[in-house]
């Protein structure tokens, strides 16, 4: 089974600064995608082009994903800024677990085709944990 769980950190406008900081701490490297470089740029606020839509950080000691954030989950310092990204090789398994997590919780984004490939959905379970589910 190659399902992978990594933290997804929302940094609300400080993503690139934070990535540089984590790079100075852990070494490693990161790749990032700016809003302006995505097919959905025209759906975003005009001043958000430079914001980081998605970044992936890899090092020997830490691996995680990050973003400047989005509208689905507004800034809430009390709720924290870390979600869990769960990537499945097995789509059937991923959908089953997505639906099970949604019981008593809230589907923030139903699983649907993602412009970056594969399918993607978000669910906030009944305990408040946000899961970002990636399936083929």
């Amino acid at each position: 089974m190659a399902t992978q769980l990594v933290p997804y950190i929302f940094l609300y406008g400080r993503c690139e600064e934070a990535l540089e900081f984590y790079k100075s701490v852990f070494g490693g490297s990161y790749e990032l995608m700016r809003v302006a470089d995505t097919p959905v740029a025209s759906d975003m606020p005009p001043d958000s082009g430079n914001r980081v839509m998605h970044a992936s950080f890899t090092s020997d000691d830490a691996k995680f994903m990050a973003s400047d954030g989005r509208d689905v989950k507004p800034v809430d310092p009390d709720a924290g800024n870390i979600s869990l990204s769960l990537s499945f090789d097995d789509g059937t398994r991923g959908e089953r677990i997505f639906n099970a997590l949604a019981a008593g919780g809230k589907v923030a984004m139903p699983i649907d085709t993602a412009f970056w490939g594969g399918r993607f959905g978000m669910v906030i379970d009944k305990f408040g944990t946000e899961w970002m589910v990636v399936v083929p």
Binding site: V6, D60, D125
Partner: protein
């Protein structure tokens, strides 16, 4: 290689949450539960470390 393991906080519902996740994920089990003692800083009987793997 190091690995980040998320540590989730549940404000008194950790055990309920862990049991929920065990019911969802395959081959999941709670490895151990450590509870706050009567005279510790946390509320008695709360907190948990473990969960789905």
């Amino acid at each position: 290689m190091g690995k980040i393991t998320p540590f989730l906080w549940f404000d008194g519902k950790a055990e309920e949450a862990a049991n929920f996740y065990v019911s969802i994920f395959d081959n999941a089990k709670i490895l151990n539960v450590s509870r706050y003692a009567e005279d510790s800083p946390g509320p008695e009987g709360t907190a948990l470390n473990g969960g789905p793997h």
